[in-house]
Subunit: 454 residues, 2 copies
């Protein structure tokens, strides 16, 4: 009954290079555009915002990019992360499927986010930056950047969506434990924030607003850079350590995934586990079925439009081509703050557009139910975001039971739920509802897509 | 700046046997006594309470005891746990000391506690037990047993000290996520609880009271066993996987500890890391300095008496010989619930009495300060209990700086602080105080030690 298996790699098998899917796509990645001119942005135009090294990565079509040794040195604290064969869950489901999960909750922040936070903090420090600004929704990303900043001696300012700031004081305290400053967004500290507060004094905030504030702050200070925890190419690049390790671990297991599943908010944990496998397929290797799972309340891939849009609410960011619900779309409240973003990583969107990736949406209550079933079988309580991958993997395993087929299903368990107990308490108390988004609001947000590029 | 080192073992190096210090002590362990007669208890007398397998382990003087394969199979989920060389902390302290820590926060409950919870649940299931009862203070132990119960299909009832039950709803929710029932103690469900509530309707509870309730519950049901998360010999035995792995990891590091440090509440994380090293010393191997660190508010080893005492408040348990503050001693409030116990593991007490182990007490504010300094250097936020080991290790490293000596200091980082953010928030807000215990209360509790055995 207790033979779930862990595939462990030695730390000298932490990847030495990240994998860049742009090298293997049949068409180049869509470039970010200047919102005024609709023309592709130059590196120089991005420099006020981002470190030079990550701009270069953002534009790169090199297949492999070296991971700096100081970054690998810190990765060693928790990497390589384990790959598990979930035999107890398989037995509980009575399925012929072989279920595997890569577990990123072993990082000191409890999710995959430090994989890129450490890299971005390293490059910023190398280029003489003193301070990093960012936004956070649920707090996973802010926590990871706080941690990364403390490793490299950088000040960190996190604009945290007001509703999370109020609901998740422990997340805020975690960031502050690492010396970061955490500011409720919208705030009076930026023009973007003040403008929102003037219109809506009791604004609950959104990721789009918080991004505007963090970007504004970086633009006004020469010693400060903005860092993003998802969406952009370089962030997904840094996350590919997840999939690269998993490929090696499947060799140890003498198996290979038929299906790969991950949840998608901005797309970084998804790209991280999927791209190295997809790259093999694109280079003529093993084909895999790939499924992106999103919340039914914020159905970017299943209901959004594939178009150029702003990444933020105040329209300070470049335009990027992605599946979007419109930069003014505000999803109804639900307990997976990491998946409440109106857009999607351009690389993930492109892979969906090219037909390499299928997408499916689930409601939150069924996700919590699946998460608890997983926890009781495997002993790990997933983050609410990760529950979206859990339920889809369990459904795929149930499908195998129907067909009698034994498929290998891999999913990314991108974080643990230790900071998400209020959500589980609400679920158990019957207080969670599957609130629908407003169709009219979505239509209006989509109608407001910038015309310059579309 | 970023070269902290992790020593990882392959999972086939998870120990196959636990180590029993009783085999190497110069005198036999002190036996538990019947409180009525003062005579050593027979195995049969303990059977209504405990599984036969753990009673046998409790009495055993065999040096090595086999770890059942199903227990090792579950250990594999997070074991072997990493040993780190804390080079970033060393640099922050500018010390010639070599600081190592064994990190038990990688377990799915976030602490060392599952090492014994899994074993005890396994034996109970093997012997046909349907239900386990236990108590929990801060919630680490209850969480671990909830997890273990779900792995082996056992019902779990946790009596949680009322003050923690109210202050730590997330811990309770974590236990409930794994299907356990969590009851505030004192409760109306047991005679012991009703008796306390009759006297003190607003009782905040204590570990001693919660033990009484859990024990009573097991005694009244033939399908139910009581399990304890610390103090007893078999619990410390199960925790020796920690030290056994560390010995092997020090071989990889080509080093050996001069000093070993762990915090002590009931003594299980301490015994777990220390005993395998102490055993080598007792068998003529390398000598080590050993330090037990306790809270100044509950100074069992530094201020208690070494005498036979009850483990619980209602005096339902056997008498065990240990350093004790008296079973009616209630320490003032402080944020390390796992260290708020009036007694100490008999084996740890005996080692202190024999002069193998030194003890030192710290106040909580200095512990939190040290914990934050550690977090900012090493990236891991420790549990408040573990901060007691952190500060003592940092002090030992500072001592090396004064003397210029490069000693190897090993400490047990027995759990992470993800569930303890309210404590860190109170610390950061200046709300924590180093409340002294009442000398008169302690004297009265000590005067009440049972006369039958002392």
């Amino acid at each position: 009954m207790s033979d779930s298996v862990k595939y462990v790699l030695d730390e000298n098998e932490i990847p030495k290079q990240w994998y860049n899917i742009a090298a293997d796509l049949p068409e180049p990645p869509t470039p970010p555009l200047h919102p005024g001119t609709g023309q592709p942005l130059s590196s120089a135009e991005l420099e006020p915002l981002f470190s030079r090294a990550v701009i270069e990565q953002e534009m790169s079509t090199e297949r492999y990019i070296d991971i700096p040794q100081p970054v690998r040195d810190i990765y060693r604290q928790w990497r390589p992360s384990p790959l598990y064969r979930a035999r107890r869950l398989e037995r509980a489901l009575d399925t012929p499927a072989r279920i595997y999960y890569k577990y990123e909750g072993v990082s000191p922040a409890g999710s995959h986010k430090p994989n890129t936070a450490i890299a971005q903090a390293f490059y910023a420090r190398e280029e003489g930056t003193k301070r990093l600004t960012t936004e956070t929704g649920a707090g996973q990303w802010g926590s990871s950047l706080a941690l990364a900043g403390s490793m490299f001696g950088l000040d960190v300012e996190v604009f945290m969506v007001r509703v999370s700031f109020d609901q998740k004081p422990y997340r805020r305290a975690f960031m502050e434990s690492f010396g970061a400053k955490c500011i409720a967004s919208p705030s009076a500290e930026t023009a973007a924030g003040r403008s929102i507060l003037a219109d809506t004094p009791d604004s609950r905030g959104s990721l789009g607003i918080a991004i505007s504030e963090a970007v504004e702050r970086a633009l006004e200070r020469s010693d400060t850079k903005y860092v993003l925890g998802s969406v952009l190419n370089h962030v997904l690049l840094h996350q590919t350590v997840v999939g690269l390790e998993a490929i090696r671990q499947f060799e140890l297991a003498d198996d290979y995934p038929d299906t790969i599943i991950a949840c998608t908010g901005g797309g970084s944990n998804f790209g991280g586990i999927v791209f190295p496998f997809l790259g093999r397929q694109l280079r003529g290797g093993e084909a895999v079925d790939i499924l992106a799972v999103e919340p039914a309340n914020c159905p970017t891939l299943t209901r959004g439009k594939y178009a150029y849009d702003f990444g933020d609410t105040a329209h300070l960011t470049p335009l990027v081509k992605m599946h979007t619900l419109g930069s003014n779309f505000v999803p109804p409240g639900f307990h997976a703050g990491g998946l409440r973003y109106h857009g999607m990583a351009p690389l993930v969107s492109q892979c969906v557009d090219l037909g390499y990736v299928q997408a499916r949406a689930y409601h939150q209550k069924e996700c919590f139910e699946a998460g608890l079933e997983f926890a009781r079988a495997e002993g790990i309580l997933p983050a609410p975001e990760a529950n979206h991958a859990v339920i889809a993997a369990m459904d795929a395993a149930q499908e195998c039971k129907k067909t009698g087929e034994s498929r290998a299903i891999l999913f990314n368990l991108c974080g643990h739920g230790h900071f998400d107990m209020p959500a589980y308490m609400d679920y158990s108390a019957g207080k969670l509802h599957d609130q629908a988004y407003n169709e009219g609001d979505m239509a209006m947000a989509l109608a407001g897509l910038p015309s310059v590029a579309n």
